[in-house]
């Protein structure tokens, strides 16, 4: 008897795909495709220097110009997308997995478990993320795997906070009591009963963290703690060519804009998901 109301909801959701979600998804798709196809679509190899064409401004042969040792900026930007593609999703996934587990457990067990977990997370979060990452990478050495691990781990407390707040509302609900009453295990209650009900906040958190993972990875590259020269890394390219900002801005501007492209794409998807979820 209440069935028509439901059809309405489903229909509304299908009809009203937020435009920001579509635009963002298109931008991200373009980036992923360009990164995957870079070896085939880039006009030049990313590391090849053309000493006859140093610091060429954008023009027919080099649409984004060349840098001071004659490398094609377009090709380097295209290849640079690959390292972001490798790092950001993996780091985000790691952060989400760790953070969700901690957050759900803290909310579910409450009491001392919660108190201790939250104090520990407070302590981790008392250290600015970039600083922690710098400290850790200085010791571990800069490598793609280490960047993933470090970003994933420093993101975990932030994810845990959000998921704990969302789960706190859920674990107090009586369907959780009902599950306990029939003797379900802790893992079942946490991941099968509660987790699906915090999927919305988790999705928003995921896009948010993905954006910040790109942010952090690029920043670490810029600070010389990510990819090492001569790798075509966006952050590193900005840092390397910073001195040329006044004379050859294209060497800096295009990698910076590439980062902006990905970040804005993720932001639009995030906004679309949030709007789609309703209030």
């Amino acid at each position: 008897m209440a069935a028509p109301a439901v059809d309405l909801r489903v229909g509304r959701r299908a009809r009203r795909m937020p435009p920001s979600l579509l635009a963002g998804a298109a931008m991200l798709l373009a980036w992923v495709a360009a990164s995957l196809l870079a070896p085939w679509i880039a006009p030049h190899p990313p590391l090849a220097s053309d000493f006859l064409a140093l610091l060429q401004p954008p023009g027919p042969g080099h649409p984004f110009g060349t840098d001071q040792i004659g490398r094609d900026v377009l090709s380097r930007v295209l290849h640079g997308g690959r390292s972001v593609l490798a790092v950001a999703p993996a780091a985000t996934a790691l952060g989400l997995a760790l953070g969700t587990t901690i957050g759900l457990a803290a909310a579910y067990f409450g009491g001392w478990t919660d108190e201790i977990a939250m104090r520990l997370l407070d302590a981790v979060m008392a250290l600015p993320i970039v600083i922690v990452a710098m400290l850790a990478l200085t010791f571990l050495g800069a490598s793609t795997l280490n960047v993933i691990l470090v970003i994933g781990i420093v993101f975990a407390p932030l994810v845990a906070r959000t998921m704990r707040a969302a789960a706190l509302v859920e674990v107090r609900k009586d369907y959780v009591r009902a599950a306990e009453l029939r003797g379900e295990g802790i893992a079942y209650v946490m991941f099968r009963e509660v987790l699906p009900n915090v999927a919305g906040p988790l999705a928003v958190e995921a896009t948010l963290r993905l954006g910040y993972a790109v942010f952090t990875a690029a920043t670490l590259g810029f600070l010389g703690l990510g990819a090492q020269p001569p790798a075509p890394d966006w952050g590193l390219m900005v840092a390397e060519n910073q001195a040329l900002l006044t004379t050859a801005p294209w060497t800096v501007l295009f990698p910076a804009l590439a980062i902006a492209w990905v970040v804005v794409g993720i932001a639009l998807v995030s906004d679309g998901l949030r709007v789609g979820q309703g209030p």
Partner: protein, 318 residues
């Protein structure tokens, strides 16, 4: 209030202790030989061992932590290897400059983001709200060096309005200092704006929809009184909490912005210490930054408590 403040202060001590332990653990337990990291791969094993002994690295971790902590508390933060000078005065000088930059940032950020948040909330879903929300969301995850590059290209190079470097010449007046700090501060503002804006907006929307706001309206109070006296007090509480937490991002951003704008603050010092493997300096910077962050949080909590009796009385919010 006093009871709350002292409780909160005790908590601060605990947090700082835990954070100091983390910093220490990162520098002493992580794989990697400290002496080797500092001296580089080509140094003789003998000198590496000697350095390790000098640094006391052959003793147990807990003992080393206690010795280190005692020294830090007494103001002995060790000597920088590179500058061959005590760490503490170095850190304090740089921290002062960074705090100036942070102050300029907050002075721009807080009024603009809070005002925009209130305005957007009063016309929820309107053009202003949607535009600012989407713009803020888009720029908030842009690294400072990206916005910085764009700002420099536009305002520094193309238009030539603002200096490209943040450090003013010796003896510059306050206006000149501000002109130099404007662009780096703007980079930091852009990253933080969206978060503060969204919290304010959400807080105001929630407060406007609250039953007690309806009570205030149906008491016949003028709209300005309803908003200023009843709504804002409650609506700004989450914003204040967020501001405290955002100081962490601010400090992280300082590293990048100071590097980009060649500003000798704590950020460039950290960056230098990290690349030069100057461990005592790096650890000193981390401790200083952590302390500033924790104090910022404390200030935010105390401000929130002064506004909300429920926090003062220790009862749960909501």
């Amino acid at each position: 209030m006093l009871a709350y403040a002292s409780r909160r202060l005790a908590l601060l001590t605990v947090t700082l202790l835990a954070a100091s332990m983390l910093i220490f653990l990162v520098t002493s337990v992580l794989p990697g030989n400290v002496g080797r990291i500092m001296l580089g791969p080509f140094a003789a094993q003998d000198s590496v061992d000697t350095l390790n002994r000098q640094l006391g690295l052959d003793r147990p971790v807990l003992e080393r932590y206690a010795v280190w902590l005692a020294a830090v508390v007494q103001g002995d933060w060790g000597r920088s290897l590179h500058f061959n000078a005590p760490v503490l005065p170095l850190v304090i000088e740089r921290l002062g400059r960074s705090l100036l930059l942070a102050a300029v940032t907050l002075a721009i950020l807080v009024p603009s983001a809070v005002a925009a948040g209130i305005h957007a909330a009063r016309r929820e879903g309107g053009v202003f709200d949607r535009t600012v929300s989407l713009l803020g969301l888009s720029v908030r995850a842009l690294p400072e060096f990206v916005t910085g590059v764009v700002l420099i290209v536009v305002f520094g190079i193309q238009l030539g309005w603002l200096p490209v470097q943040a450090l003013p010449p010796e003896g510059a007046g306050p206006v000149e200092v501000l002109r130099h700090l404007l662009m780096p501060a703007l980079c930091l503002v852009l990253v933080l704006f969206a978060y503060v804006f969204r919290m304010t907006r959400a807080g105001v929307i929630e407060a406007l929809a609250a039953d007690w706001t309806r009570t205030a309206r149906l008491k016949g109070l003028p709209p300005s009184v309803v908003v200023l006296r009843h709504v804002l007090r409650n609506a700004l509480l989450p914003t204040i909490a967020v501001l405290g937490a955002q100081i962490g991002w601010l400090v992280g951003g300082l590293v990048v912005v100071e590097t980009l704008f060649r500003y000798p603050g704590i950020g460039t010092l950290i960056q230098f210490a990290a690349t030069a493997k100057d461990l005592p300096l790096l650890v000193g910077c981390a401790v200083a930054v952590t302390a500033v962050f924790a104090l910022g949080n404390l200030a935010a909590d105390l401000l929130a408590a002064s506004l909300d009796p429920r926090i003062r009385h220790g009862s749960p919010r909501g």
